[in-house]
Amino acid sequence: MSLKNPNEKGRFGPFGGRYIPETLVPACHELEESFVEAWADDSFREELDSLLFDYAGRPSPVTECLNLSDELNCRLLLKREDLNHTGSHKINNVLGQALLAKRMGKKRLVAETGAGQHGVATATAAALLNLECCVYMGEVDVKRQELNVFRMKLLGAEVRSVESGSRTLKDAVNDAMRDWVATVEESYYCLGSVMGPHPYPWMVRTFHEVIGTEARMQCEEILGTTPDVVCACVGGGSNAIGIFSGFVDSDAELIGVEPAGGAAIGRGVPGVVHGMESFLMQDEFGQVLEAESISAGLDYPGVGPEHSYLSSTGRARYESVTDDEVIEAFQLLSRTEGLIPALEPAHALAWISRERKYLTGKTVLLNLSGRGDKDVGQMMEILNV
């Protein structure tokens, strides 16, 4: 394994930690212990692997984009997390956490969701493992991702619309944490990205390392070597850290792409919210700013602490793209490769497309973190068809 583990206080360099109400501190201690113990237990790992492979459809393939490579003058490969059950990488983490919740004797999963992908994945795991499920989702997102809201309900989950603050992912996290404060004895908080208080950033990363491990082997097979560039979108940063984990010890450049309106690393300064110390978009007094992005899954003013660390050491680089560039990229991949991407990974492609000059002749691996079915309605409106 090549990414470093956090220190005993849950820090990656200066970032991370555990800034939560006292009520939740014992629950985080218990979670950390349970995770460490489960991860060292072969039977837990086998059970998780069998769910990932036989239920969620892993391994996901790597697809070489012949048409688009031609157009961009690079060699573009896609790690196909869009082919996982429920349509994104989120299922990797959720199956791990839901099994852990079960093992800890919890009866109820609480989750926040932006685009609804993490909510759908959590509702799916809850249905499969016979757990109750309650998902918090900002009112704005409930509207722009109504298909996923219906999916969650079909799967038996309760969806609570969040009407405070930005009415998007940031406030969904607040309400999920408030729920957890009140129900900590019976509920398990199933966080959807590499963020929050220790041990979440580390644990969620660990569950997503399967992306990088597979991709490394697949690239060796296809390319005979590692790619020159590994690129992924960054909301909280879980799909990015998952794929980075396979290449951090290689020569590959690691590029995380944030939305211009939610660029925690690009526009933020260090701060503390949602349990972690990390880069954060905030005003001069420390009030957290509202992110603004076309993509509900990236509409978040913070970022996972390990990305702040990788940025500060220079091992990974963080770029941002505008909504307009994303709309272009969304159509580009659909048209050239017959793959409709989710708006989130369309950010990564937008960067690749914009930087095509720089990338000429290089091999580029893009983490296609999800498929675009959930976004077609929104795109229909945007494109006015």
Binding site: P21, G165, R178, A182, V272, E277, G286
Partner: protein, 262 residues
């Protein structure tokens, strides 16, 4: 350096006279007359006033304080305006600030602590700053003679309660229930449980807060604790547009109930 014990002394004065302590929370910057409300609350018998400095993401707060937060921020209040509003006041009871850690972090620990001190604030409560992350802040707070009040929760194990009591200054804040701030129809059993666990291990004042919404509930909690913290009930009254005098009258009902029935 001599310790600042304004808050602890004010509470002890009340407790040593055989009475129960009353701490009242109000949201800073809420309405044009919040400073008068503060004085009125003190006149009505609050031993300490907690001034909430609003934060955009208050995860320990329920709907009432969230809304008060939002409306204070919308009216233009910032940590700087709230502290400067307080600078020329000489309230008759000591003040503590209740806010979230990022505001202190952003301003810088030393600067935040010293600006509390120069605004006449004696104490600080940061509900998202647990023991493990406390060191940097508590050093700066001590340098500016600010008392740092720590929270103990119903979920806190016994050994940890000891550490919290050892490091809390001013008083120990016993979180009365599993949940966020807000009024409840009944006092949770956990309120007296946590208070009695704390009373068994500390000689510092133990006050129950979160979920104390009525004088009856305050009296019940004080069967075990040294006093209570009342927040949402008061803030609700402010949000209803009540005058400083009316808010004071509400505080009097708590003061009277505690004085008569405890």
């Amino acid at each position: 350096m001599s310790e600042n014990i304004q808050i602890e002394s004010a509470l002890r004065n009340r407790i040593d006279s055989g009475k129960k302590a009353l701490v009242v929370y109000i949201t800073g910057g809420l309405g044009d007359d919040w400073i008068q409300t503060m004085h009125s609350v003190i006149d009505a018998g609050a031993d300490v006033v907690e001034i909430g400095i609003p934060f955009s993401d208050p995860v320990m707060d329920g709907p009432i304080i969230q809304m008060a937060n939002d409306s204070s921020i919308e009216s233009g209040a910032t940590p700087v305006t709230i502290l400067s509003d307080l600078r020329d006041e000489s309230p008759a009871s000591p003040l503590a600030v209740m806010t979230y850690y990022n505001l202190a972090y952003r301003m810088g620990h030393e600067r935040f602590a010293s600006s509390l001190a120069s605004a006449g604030i004696s104490g600080c409560i940061l509900p998202d700053l647990p023991l493990e992350e406390l060191d940097i802040w508590s050093e700066s707070a001590a340098n500016s003679k600010i008392e740092t009040i720590l929270l103990a929760a119903p979920t806190t194990p016994d050994e940890r309660l000891l550490q919290i009591c050892a490091r809390s200054t001013g008083f120990v804040y016993a979180v009365g229930l599993l949940g966020v701030t807000g009024m409840r129809s009944e006092l949770a059993d956990s309120a007296t449980e946590i208070a009695s666990r704390l009373k068994n291990v500390t000689s510092k004042p133990v006050l129950v807060g979160v979920g104390i919404g009525s004088p009856e509930q305050a009296v019940e909690a004080c069967k075990v604790s040294d006093g209570v913290i009342v927040g949402s009930a008061i803030v609700q009254e402010m949000m209803n547009g009540s005058s400083p005098e009316e808010v004071g009258e509400l505080v009097s009902t708590f003061r009277d109930a505690l004085d008569k029935n405890c």
